[in-house]
Point group: C2
Chain length 595, copies 2
């Protein structure tokens, strides 16, 4: 018997139940036309993911979901439907909702499957609104003689043999042992480095272990910080891929239960790269492709979902603004991007030329607005302030006043342009390495309506630059001079060299810096742990233990005083395994940890 | 038999285990000197609260807690100790920690009591790191023949008779029924409007219901957004208060188990005001005193814990900056505050005079730095930009460019002063009503290192102004003219009146606006719900249903486009029952809810 299954790999709008319902119906109709037996939507599709606190603040959303289901079920006379929503919990002693999947069949809500394991780490906050449904429940649906067990996202992530450590006592998959032919896993699981590889290994393991098929459908698109890769897919009983949708693409992906279907070439590339990283490496490998696609997806979605059409950013001729410009050009089209060169007194001719060449290569709009006069006027103003300020205010020896004035004047022009022109969003170009170090100016380069690379470290940005030069349709758009020069904000002169200060001198070598970040985020290491382990940079450069300790101490000292800046970084996509984005990392600013 | 109990109502530093341990030992020694039998510390005292994600990111903190307990227990030969910490969970299938209280006695860790109910709403995120301990556990300790049941914070908040709706199935207090003479409830429970009254009613109810004493100890001080009131206290078996510590004050509060002890006069004032609000009212009553004290506490703690000593803010002669200046003067001392008048072209003489008079009344430092020249230069610059910008950028009809330039130039000066002078923090003066409406300039008045009134609505700020004029040591420091004039940012001229635009005209009357906010936050109402109910302002002013609908639609439309600004509001204290502070409200920016 022929069973065609459609995975509705779609991009919902968060909170827009009516819109999501209409989209669901549109795709159900398509699936009916294609003679599909079962169409599966992602977890919580009617609401979108992530939810924030909208469910508790606007209970009307629960009622809207209910109403939407009543409408959708009318289409289930010709097709079976599995669709995610927030189910109002009417009991008096529990959380207000369940995270549920409705099984619609023959015009009825035939069954409701509720999520058991409440993901509450990183970007997940299930337990804020959802009651875990832990009683034994009937998760099985039957279609043309085949039995499918439905496990919602986290419910499939607790295999005690696969994971070294389990978060929960219950394993919903185990309870289906011997009872089903296939698992169906509706998810809303965001993209992070090496996470897709982990899911791939888990799915292979589960399908082999239980000798069943494993069918996974994921949300696609992006909402604020979170990017959803899609890549919905199915594995056979031997743990082999039998069908896989495209990444970052909205589609109704149809495959045959027995024969399988198309397999995205992207899947094949990442499948080769399946081992999770255990060591810091400057070879970012396959992840550069994912990072590029995820960033493009994040930008596209943020603009289209907020109604912005154009982006304006400062082009310094440095790495950060260069990478941002490339990404924006590819996501929005060159004509929708305005790069502004904003030279100050010490800006070099090379930097100005690099900015101009880049803009021309990318085909983005470009203009030059020098800030020299305003810089002079501001500095003059501040030179007089000392004489009028009352009270015992003591001047800083190194005040960064001059540096910051430049960055702030630039941001003032970019925000002014965004005021003046319709639907134009200014872009914050800060990168993750520098945000960790607080090496970004408030109301300056840190300021903007979106921060595309706030979760990408510097060494990866360099790699991404080379990758884009090789892999974008238009080759070598980034001038080599930009990729070759050492990063520096060009805001101050180094008295030692009489040239603009290089960031690595003000901070520490980026290869070292990025490894510290990596060790915190991936290994949860303390400073003490790191002192004992060998860094990649140590191996290469033969630095002393004393030097290493100085850098580590500097890192944690700077991190502490950067915390308040993290609080006001504009929204930007999560890329790494862990991030400092507000959706995830919440260290109190006043905290004083003995790292 | 005489039992003296000490409630260690203390202010921990988040994450600073060594510091918190030393503080604990200091107070244990004091308690020993005073012949105390039992000293009780707040929930999670060794780590401080809130934790953010530091426990999972820096597992070293769990080990530090363990080490600290080993040291503290040595003091338990002369006194019994109950102290909160994060206990490492060594099982392989659960969350990494328990939220535990160690009972130290005779030099040993005699017992560990673990939290059962995981608070995961508003500012609470227990389930991110703590395994709920739901097995029946021994929560009872015995001192001089009396039995005490230990229930950690949320564990005492699930009485099925007291609450209309319960969050959890289990009630840990019920399991102690008939087995204990008193409950001890170590908490870290932050201050919010009417929350202390709810706790008071709950404690009275529980002690009467079970005929037991109820002893509550709370953290004090503030960490980032959260302010802890303290007010640790004990009730007798009849539900009567028998002892109560001061609010917002660090102290070792000692009382006698039988005789009771001192009762703070603040408690007596709020006890009179015990009914939770069910209707929006402009009579803020007792809550003005709490709000004032909470804001002072928040400012003091943020400055002392981050090392800042001085505050700089713009003084416009308007309400927001006036209230901020009063609070800062009282929290930091007038000599540590610098008020800067930053007049632009349309700034009135009255505003300038009001600012000056206020500064002089408060005894804060003051200077005037006009921004007129820079304003002209910037506008000139922008008038030329149109001719050099490439691409099809379409000008906005109403661009707010002129308004925003003024706000941003002011912030540039304030941040410059903070750059130039040691330990000086610029203050963001935005209030909650205007943040809800996005009526604040990014990199302008919304910008700063701390936002003292970001959770206080405008009508309450007026009331607070009058309250301060009456209740501060120095009476009437705020010129009446400031309290009498309608709010307006004085950034643009209203073409209709030829006078500076009034905010209520640009938005809607503040009495109406603040009630919409109140209804969202306290009643979870949708726009539809609100249309059906009568507003206070409607009663008074006889507005049409059409007008009401226009305002409601405007409100929700503005709210939607304000979401991205909420993402970058500087840290500031939570005051209301609900807030938009990042620690609590997490609505995705891209969300499109049909409210």
């Amino acid at each position: 018997m022929d069973i065609k299954i459609a995975l509705a790999q779609l991009n919902p709008n968060v909170g827009a139940v009516e819109y999501n319902k209409n989209k669901a119906i549109e795709y159900i109709k398509k699936a009916i036309q294609k003679k599909v037996s079962l169409v599966v939507f992602p977890e919580l599709f009617l609401l979108g993911y992530p939810l924030g606190d909208i469910l508790t603040r606007y209970p009307i959303l629960g009622l809207q979901c209910q109403k939407a289901l009543e409408e959708i079920k009318q289409y289930s006379d010709k097709i079976d439907i599995l669709i995610g929503y927030a189910e109002i919990n009417r009991e008096n002693h529990k959380k207000p909702y369940y995270n549920s999947i409705a099984y619609l069949k023959q015009g009825e809500i035939k069954k409701i499957i509720r999520k058991t394991l409440m993901a509450n780490y990183q970007e997940h906050n299930d337990y804020r609104y959802f009651e875990p449904y832990c009683d034994a429940q009937d998760r099985i649906i039957e279609i043309k003689g085949k039995k499918f067990g439905v496990v919602i996202c986290e419910d499939s992530w607790n295999d005690s043999q696969f994971f070294e450590k389990n978060l929960y006592k219950i394993d919903p998959i185990e309870s289906l042992k011997g009872k089903v032919d296939a698992l169906i896993c509706p998810s809303s699981s965001c993209s992070r480095v090496k996470k897709e590889q982990l899911k791939n290994n888990l799915a292979k393991f589960i399908s082999k272990k239980y000798n069943i098929k494993y069918i996974y459908v994921n949300q696609v698109g992006a909402n604020d910080e979170l990017v959803y890769e899609g890549l919905s897919r199915a594995y056979n009983e031997k743990g082999e891929i039998m069908a896989c949708a495209e990444p970052f693409l909205e589609e109704l992906f149809i495959f045959d239960y027995t024969e399988g279907g198309k397999i995205s070439s992207y899947y094949k590339r990442y499948d080769k790269d399946e081992k999770p990283i255990k060591k810091f490496s400057l070879d970012y490998g396959f992840d550069l492709e994912r990072t590029y696609l995820a960033l493009i997806c994040a930008i596209k979605n943020y603009f289209s979902k907020t109604g912005f059409k154009k982006a304006v950013l400062g082009l310094s001729g440095g790495l950060d603004s260069t990478i941002c410009a490339c990404l924006l050009a590819d996501a929005l089209g060159g004509g929708n991007v305005l790069g502004v060169s904003l030279p100050a007194k010490i800006t070099s001719k090379e930097s100005k030329n690099d900015a101009k060449t880049l803009a021309s290569n990318l085909g983005i709009n470009f203009c030059e607005i020098p800030i020299v006069e305003q810089q002079t006027a501001q500095l003059e103003k501040f030179s007089k302030i000392a004489s009028i300020i009352q009270g015992d205010f003591i001047e800083n020896e190194n005040s960064y006043l001059e540096d910051n004035i430049q960055a702030r004047l630039r941001a003032m022009i970019l925000w002014g342009i965004s005021n003046k022109y319709q639907n134009t969003l200014p872009i914050a170009t800060s990168d993750k390495s520098e945000l960790y170090m607080g090496y970004a100016t408030i109301n300056g380069d840190m300021s903007g309506g979106f921060a595309p690379i706030c979760d990408v470290v510097k060494t990866k940005l360099f790699a991404l630059g080379y990758w884009m030069n090789e892999n974008r349709a238009q080759k070598n758009a980034i001038p080599t001079s930009i990729l070759k020069k050492p990063p520096g904000a060009e805001l101050a002169i180094d008295p030692k060299t009489n040239k603009p200060l290089i960031a690595a001198d003000a901070l520490m070598p980026y290869e070292f810096l990025d490894e510290v970040i990596w060790r915190i985020e991936n290994l949860n290491q303390s400073m003490n742990d790191m002192e004992k382990e060998e860094f990649l940079y140590e191996k290469k450069e033969n630095i002393t233990q004393e030097q290493k300790k100085i850098w580590l101490q500097k890192f944690f000292k700077r991190l502490k005083s950067a915390l308040y800046k993290w609080n006001i970084v504009p929204v930007g996509p999560v890329i790494d395994a862990r991030s400092i984005n507000r959706i995830e990392f919440k260290q109190p600013i006043v905290s004083t940890i003995d790292y």
